[in-house]
């Protein structure tokens, strides 16, 4: 296990919990609705080729929950402040998963000064008309596991997990903040698509081939909306390539960043 630094920083009056580890180009990982529940194998792999920054979004994990962040555009503006304050001179590679992907795109259309490259993984943020996404808010735990996780053993492990008291607090916080950001319009911003042409930096789209929340049509839609993007479909994988295929997913990100560096 490599050395991971857990620290708090103050951005725009918000105390943010930040994990940092690894060597290489700085990489900002924007987590999905479940938050970051620890330095997982994905981060271990990723940190072998990048200096990983994994903050808890305001309202999630151990970060503050300021009342003024009311929706995803507010959160994106907050992260522009975050990057202004903390990003190194050449910027960061941004990787976002699920609502973190949505957030990454909202940041990039607003101001890409600090964004060297963009990786959108199983990303929320757009709607594909005629292809409904799953209703993650109405699913029970078993249905959620079935839709999000492809591997039966991982699914069973997810269902058997017994959160500690502290973890249960974080789960509930994350759930509340998730609803705040994504309940309506459900998991997308109707205004985002018309501004996607502002995303000019190298971009890749990563998707599990068995994502039961955002079907594959969503991957192709993102890919089409972002000319020049690359598309990687991860086989035998659900909504979280970072959990189900950590090594492969980290390798895709490393290769993509290496291409940009070359």
């Amino acid at each position: 296990m490599m050395n991971v630094e857990n620290r708090f920083c103050q951005v725009s009056g918000v105390k943010v919990h930040l994990r940092q580890g690894g060597q290489g180009r700085p990489l900002l990982f924007l987590h999905g609705a479940g938050g970051v529940m620890g330095w997982s194998p994905f981060f271990e792999h990723l940190a072998k080729g990048a200096q990983v920054w994994a903050p808890d979004h305001p309202g999630f994990g151990r970060s503050d929950d300021p009342g003024w962040i009311k929706h995803m555009p507010d959160l994106a503006m907050f992260y522009l402040d975050f990057l202004d304050q903390l990003a190194p001179e050449h910027g960061v590679d941004v990787v976002g998963h699920s609502i973190g992907g949505w957030l990454a795109a909202e940041i990039a259309v607003r101001n890409s000064r600090h964004v060297r490259s963009l990786t959108l993984m199983s990303s929320a943020g757009l709607r594909v008309p005629g292809t409904p996404m799953g209703d993650i808010f109405i699913w029970n735990d078993e249905e959620t596991a079935r839709h999000l996780v492809f591997d039966p053993a991982m699914r069973a492990a997810r269902l058997a997990a017994q959160p500690s008291d502290e973890e249960a607090d974080v789960l509930v916080r994350n759930k509340f903040s998730f609803a705040k950001l994504a309940w309506h319009p459900r998991l997308f911003n109707p205004d985002l698509q018309k501004w996607l042409h502002r995303i000019q930096m190298p971009t890749q789209v990563i998707w599990g081939d068995h994502d039961g929340l955002f079907p594959l049509a969503y991957a192709h839609h993102w890919h089409q909306q972002l000319p020049g993007s690359s598309l990687n479909i991860v086989p035998d994988c659900g909504h979280s390539p970072i959990n189900e295929k950590p090594a492969e997913t980290a390798a895709l990100i490393h290769a993509f960043i290496a291409r940009d560096a070359a």
């Binding site: 109405i138 029970n140 078993e142 249960a168 509930v172 759930k175 509340f176 609803a179 309940w183």
Partner: protein
Amino acid sequence: MKILNFTLMPYRPMDIAASKQHRSAWVVLPNTFYDPELGAHEYESYIDLLAESETLGFDGVCVNEHHQTAYGLMPAPNLIASALIQRTKRIRIAILGRALPLVGNPIHIAEEFAMLDNMSRGRIIAGFVRGIGAEYHSTAVNPFYSHERFHEAHDLIVKAWTTPGPFPWEGEHYNLNYVNLWPRVYQQPHPPVWVPSQGSIETIEWAADPSRRYPFLVTFSAREAVVRNLTAYRDQCRQFGYEADPGQLGWAAPVYVADTEEKAQNEARVAIEALFNDFLTLPPEMLLPPGYTSAQSLKKIIATKKAIGRGGFGPGNASRQTLERLMELGTVLVGTPKTVLAQIEKVREQTQLGNFVAMLQFGTLNNELTRRNQAMFASEVMPHLQAL
């Protein structure tokens, strides 16, 4: 005491066995289960039954709002209230209530209540609720902002009723240049506002505030919870430095009376069990969307799941509630007029409640039994309560 008659207007012809293939009678139950011909008959029956309350001597009738469910056919309760205004002369019409956070512009609610208040010459009671969790799924309104929207909508409606217009509203969720109600409300300063709730300390504190003193109506709760919540309300009033008026305390419960205990139970059983097990089927994901309730309550649910080792309350998981169990808990009152009266009197002694809302039609209870139940309750139970 004041006694009001209430029905949820459930869709009784529902094919209950077939409905079990769906996770709930709410949100996702296909509306192909609804037959318009049978449904039209339901509306006619229910309006007739409620309208008869006036000659039976009730103090009022109640309607309420629920969306996209077989549990209740009143997504727009004011339409039923309007019909009842035309069918009655004397009694109160209580709309318990309108779900304030679910509308885009609360002025619509202020206007409709003002119309009903004029049309009834001041007979309406305006209930304010948040809607239940499932309705945040069916309307897509964000439950995270449910409390905020409720409070802002309430403040806006009451101001619209009591302050000469036009005035602007500069709010967080609602922004209006011109608030100027036509018509104004008939009752002064405004129609009574009731707060039906299953009871949370925040709601009790808010309703009991000396600036409001809104009657609090405990619905669908076990006797122990009714007493606990009404006592909490009374204590809260004392903390605010005043004594609660009995009219500030209410209880709503299903009631069935017949000549013998056995007959009452036999006639009520199927209908009561349908209400609690078939119409009121709500998995926690529907009942408690994030933000609808406090973080603590949601955490408790997660802890409960952990304790009982299951991942949800999907179809087939929940155990059926029997009539006996519901009677034992005091959630429903079923028996002879004497025993039912004794149960209500007992709660009254403990709480000094001044309003009792009798749900005399519930679940699949048919017109004939409902009519008999209403008549017997009205002649053998109600006069004793009204005399208290």
